[in-house]
């Protein structure tokens, strides 16, 4: 048993921390207020190699491992959750499908520019009537004259409408299986496909500087070769992608909790009441101790899941546990961080107020807490 990170993992974490604290943190409040997508930060993340961190160098990536990737997302979320989800969704949901299921040609065409961070890509699973129940996909695609004709709607799709977005990979019903159930496949839909359009950005409670839109397909035309992976494997492929994605959203939740803890700790050491700093009150000390304890616990789980993935083990259950736990402790931590700030924590110029709003989605996105429990119970064989 060895808890040391490798020199390389430490270097990646330290680079991510420097970048996040020096470049991202000072911008977070304004980006949240203006709901502005940080193109320049994405460009810097691309230049530094974060946008392709876990992909092989041969495909434009940095050849890093999952532990390094989790640490990078964690450090960036510590400064700003919006920037972290832009990165995490890009890597885990946008680019990973090509890396796992793409043909060599698809990898060259999509994965390379995605890993280089020159292009962003969406992952379209959720629909207005199919969220947790993703198998209930209503979007349909029919093969006609060598083209897929797509009809349907996708809801809440991250990175789907930025100036850099090249398209979205979706799930769509492409026919009926022999057992009568719908056959679901993955289709690569480029931004300029005729009949494909995006809504304006949703107005959101949190992750306000990230790009989330509704997608609409009205007789949208996609070339036949834009099938990703085998026909009929679409749902299974997307669920595999979500297994890995859970590690990064767990890291994101953890990072957010760490950021809120950092703020609460420094505030507690400065704020004075009754003639001393509030950090001298046992009630505040105990809150900070509990926060640290929960953070350390979540960190062990996140890194263990990442380590299992790197070691080629079956990591689905640990990743789900880590995602569930990190999401829940992030709620308690941001809540206490605001509490420690008193009235100031309720004010927009204090980062904890933004963190409080950014937290909620941790318990909803990529599998709600309830669904996470369902998944884990199933993996436990219950």
């Amino acid at each position: 048993m060895n808890f040391d990170l490798t020199d390389e993992q430490k270097a990646v974490a330290s680079l991510a921390r420097d970048f996040a604290q020096e470049r991202v943190r000072p911008r977070a409040e304004e980006m949240d207020r203006e709901q502005s997508f940080p193109y320049d930060l994405v460009a810097t993340m691309a230049e530094l190699g974060f946008m392709g961190l876990p992909f092989p160098e041969a495909y434009g990536g940095a050849g890093g491992d999952t532990v390094s990737y989790a640490l990078a997302v964690m450090e960036i979320a510590r400064a700003d959750a919006s920037t972290a989800i832009t990165l995490a969704a890009h890597v885990s949901l946008g680019a990973t499908p090509f890396s796992l299921f793409g043909t060599e040609e698809q990898k060259q065409r999509y994965l390379v520019p995605l890993a280089q961070g020159k292009m962003l890509w969406g992952f379209g699973l959720t629909e207005p009537g199919a969220g947790s129940d993703a198998a209930n996909t209503q979007t349909k695609a029919e093969l006609r004259d060598g083209r897929w004709i797509v009809n349907g709607t996708k809801a809440f799709i991250t990175n789907s409408g930025t100036d850099l977005t090249g398209g979205t990979t979706i799930t769509a019903v492409t026919g009926k299986r022999s057992d009568g159930k719908p056959e679901i496949s993955n289709l690569i839909v480029p931004q300029d496909a005729p009949g494909f359009s995006r809504s304006k950005k949703y107005r959101k409670m949190g992750w306000r500087a990230s790009d989330t839109r509704e997608l609409s397909f009205v007789d949208a035309e996609v070339p036949a070769e834009n099938l990703l992976g085998e026909r009929g494997n679409g749902l299974r492929q997307f669920l595999t992608i979500l297994d890995g994605g859970r590690i990064s959203v767990a890291a994101l939740s953890l990072g957010l909790a760490m950021g809120a803890y950092d703020e609460a700790l420094s505030y507690a050491k400065e704020r004075r009441a009754f003639g001393r700093t509030i950090s001298k009150f046992q009630a505040i000390q105990f809150k900070l101790v509990d926060m640290l304890c929960e953070i350390e616990h979540a960190k062990l789980m996140v890194l263990k899941a990442a380590w299992e993935k790197d070691a080629g083990r079956d990591y689905a259950q640990t990743a789900s546990l880590a995602k569930l736990h990190a999401a829940e402790i992030s709620r308690r931590v941001v809540n206490e961080a605001v509490q420690i700030h008193g009235g100031y924590g309720f004010m927009d110029e204090y980062p904890v107020s933004r963190m409080y709003r950014d937290q909620k989605i941790n318990e909803i996105g990529e599998g709600t807490n309830e669904v996470q429990r369902v998944v884990i119970a199933r993996l436990m064989g219950l």
Binding site: D7, E8, A11, L15, A62
Partner: protein
């Protein structure tokens, strides 16, 4: 063109500093070792020069450190430095500015260089004495406090920062310069750089390889630390009250003038 950057490894400047009252040295255990922040500017200056000069220009990082901390130099390699050399031996412990500069100069002669670039100061010792002493031992022109460097037709041109502006100076190579923070913010190492750094070499040399003719380490030190004391606690501030801004500004102005600060 061969550029060598001298790099010191120091305790993390953001960590709280503690001094061992008996040994009178900075406590290093439990504190992370990092590149001296001022030397990151020297690395940046060297990498910029390499980019401008192109061709077969190389940048080597050179550090006098215990073997156990040499991995910290990977950050310099990740930033883009070609290779690193350390001078390492127990006999070097306790070297003062003089002994350090003497030992390092012999190391630099052995490595060979056209240009040596130093940071202006080390974050821990803060003497700022090594660059000047190194130039002396190396017998090359020493240009300190450079804010900009250029090499044209094999000649070094530098802008030296002064209190009121800067001097434009030039000199023959080989030479030594120390740089200020005006050379440009040190670049982030890229992930590619981090992944590539483990393949780059960190060579080790020992004093025995250098044929030193004087003592180094604490035996060779010319200074002796007699006592240490924390800086005096700051007195309480004087708060001025005034009816309006201009009146307040006048009071502050008079106060500063009286102290001969303006």
């Amino acid at each position: 063109m061969k550029i060598v950057v001298t790099v010191k490894l120091v305790p993390d400047p953001n960590a709280e500093k503690r001094i061992d009252p008996v040994g009178m040295r900075l406590v290093r255990s439990g504190v992370e070792t990092v590149l001296n922040p001022y030397d990151e500017y020297a690395l940046e200056a060297a990498l910029q020069l390499r980019e401008r000069l192109g061709g077969d220009t190389t940048v080597t990082a050179f550090s006098m450190v215990p073997e156990s901390t040499k991995e910290t130099l990977r950050k310099a390699l990740a930033m883009g430095v070609d290779d690193a050399v350390i001078l390492s031996d127990a006999s070097l412990a306790g070297s003062d500015t003089w002994a350090t500069a003497y030992a390092m100069a012999q190391g630099l002669k052995k490595i060979g260089f056209d240009l040596v670039i130093c940071g202006g100061l080390a974050d821990d010792g803060s003497t700022g004495g090594v660059p000047g002493a190194l130039a002396e031992y190396l017998g090359v022109p020493g240009l300190t406090n450079a804010r900009h460097l250029e090499i044209v037709d094999g000649k070094l041109h530098a802008q030296r920062e002064t209190d009121s502006g800067y001097q434009v100076v030039s000199g023959a190579l080989p030479a030594l310069v120390s740089v200020t923070m005006a050379v440009g913010e040190p670049r982030y190492p890229s992930l590619k750089g981090i992944m590539g750094a483990k393949k780059k070499s960190i060579a080790t040399m020992a004093p025995a390889d250098l044929g030193l003719d004087r003592a180094v380490g604490s035996d060779g030190a010319k200074t002796e630390l007699l006592a240490i004391a924390p800086p005096p606690a700051r007195g309480s501030a004087r708060v001025v009250e005034a009816a309006d801004g201009p009146t307040g500004a006048k009071i502050i102005f008079d106060f500063l003038k009286e102290k001969k600060l303006i």
